[in-house]
Symmetry: C2
Subunit: 282 residues, 2 copies
């Protein structure tokens, strides 16, 4: 790499990524090395090697996932719905270009089909090649990579999936529609009659409106709505919410959780639904 | 304020606090106003009004607590030990200059004495005056403010307290000794024969060594050691650990938690001890 990507700065001889998309709080990461940097059709894509977080996926200058903590988010968005559904066979992941959610889903032997609909093929390619701590060098024949718009994909499919995982980025730019009512309506229709969905619903502290709007949408469309949280260190404030909408199933299984993981275990599966007081009283 | 405090920078016309104490990750906060700024005998003390977190206590340029999330840390370090001890009457808080832990402890009618040993009187003064969201304008006659070194205080007292809360800053500079074996030894001796203590034991992700060392110290000194976690958005990574050492009591009470709080409730009291897989398997 001879030319420095525009999102990086050299300060006192050190390379820094200065996140610039937030108005009132900025996080800067000291960088060891630029592993990959190029624009795709949709966004600027980088893999950076950082001091504190190891390798990171950075889109348009914003950190998306890291070797240090990517597993927390990916395990939480995947194992909760796949534990609540008693026998998922067909799973759809919308977004999830880092391949981490698909990697977790592939740990279930009874799942037959994992459709991963990611708009940006370059993200998948570089994560598989340069971010193995997150993507796990995913090469499971049950995973179908579909490089398309997730919104268009769910519009076309009815009564097909057992579980849909919406692994979106922040609701700005193209991902904005992934937080709107019509999208969740199409998701409901793409699910089987006992299907369930989960989405990341942003920070309960910094994006309370987005979280509450998501809960309202899901609540209108599904008979069962549940909210759970996890600590995701690379997202602002570290405190993150997920919203689950289900047509029928809502209980965790009696048998112990038996997947090999770094974050999720039986106690976490159960305790993640326990919300702090400020999220229970409105 | 005519002169700009050295920890602040003006960037494109806006005022920013750029935290500078970490080597590989820096967080910057956009600032509305400098409410207070002066050096004390021990450190540089500021109260800043920020856009995302409201008013913040900043010591030597590092954010300590904020109006937005200060209650999470203070409720978690206070209500867990005060719920596990069945009838605490004498409580010692070491550090805790923002007065938040003392404020939470004052919610227990049966507590007769709350000694708050904080080395820096100026911190207490400015938090009481300018940070009411955290300090709650604390004016309870049971709270005794002792402006002294917590290490010297616990050396002198034997068999006196029911609960000791170590609300320290990071283990650099003067707070370093608050993470050492001898200090916990003195704490054990300052506790009654059924007493218990809790300390903040840093981030399980970024300060794993400090956390494990603290657990080892407490484990050597107390028959019961328990670790719990909380999400504290203004601390790096958001994921924070607390270590509890007890001579006798270790169970939460059967009766429901009945204090007015924003974060802690019965479900949180119980689920905070559920650790993710990477903290259970060593």
């Amino acid at each position: 790499m001879n030319e420095m990507p525009k999102f990086l700065q050299r300060i006192n001889g050190d390379l820094w990524l200065v996140e610039d998309e937030r108005e009132n709080m900025k996080i800067s990461y000291r960088i060891k090395d630029v592993i990959f940097s190029a624009p795709s059709e949709f966004q600027h894509v980088m893999i950076l090697d950082s001091y504190d977080f190891g390798r990171m996926l950075v889109l348009d200058g914003v950190v998306q996932t890291t070797s240090l903590d990517g597993h927390i988010y990916n395990e939480m968005i995947t194992h909760i719905p796949l534990s609540i559904h008693p026998h998922p066979e067909r799973v759809l992941i919308i977004g999830g270009g880092d391949c981490g959610a698909a990697r977790e889903a592939a740990k279930y032997d009874h799942i037959q089909e994992i459709d991963m609909v990611e708009i940006d093929e370059l993200v998948v390619k570089v994560c598989k090649e340069h971010l193995p701590a997150v993507s796990g060098n995913l090469a499971d024949p049950r995973v179908h990579f579909i490089y398309a718009d997730g919104i268009e994909h769910v519009k076309k499919i009815k009564n097909h999936y057992d579980v849909i995982i919406v692994d979106s980025s922040d609701p700005i730019g193209p991902a904005k529609q992934l937080f709107e009512y019509d999208f969740y309506h199409d998701i409901r229709d793409a699910l089987k009659e006992d299907g369930l969905m989960v989405c990341q619903s942003q920070s309960p502290l910094f994006h309370r409106n987005v979280m509450e709007q998501t809960i309202r949408h899901v609540n209108r469309l599904f008979p069962i709505t549940k909210v759970y949280t996890a600590t995701v260190p690379t997202y602002p404030g570290g405190f993150w919410s997920f919203t689950l909408g289900s047509k029928k199933h809502h209980q965790l299984p009696a048998q112990p959780f038996n997947k090999k993981t770094k974050y999720v275990n039986d106690a976490i599966l159960r305790s993640c639904f326990e919300l702090p007081e400020f999220l229970r009283t409105k």
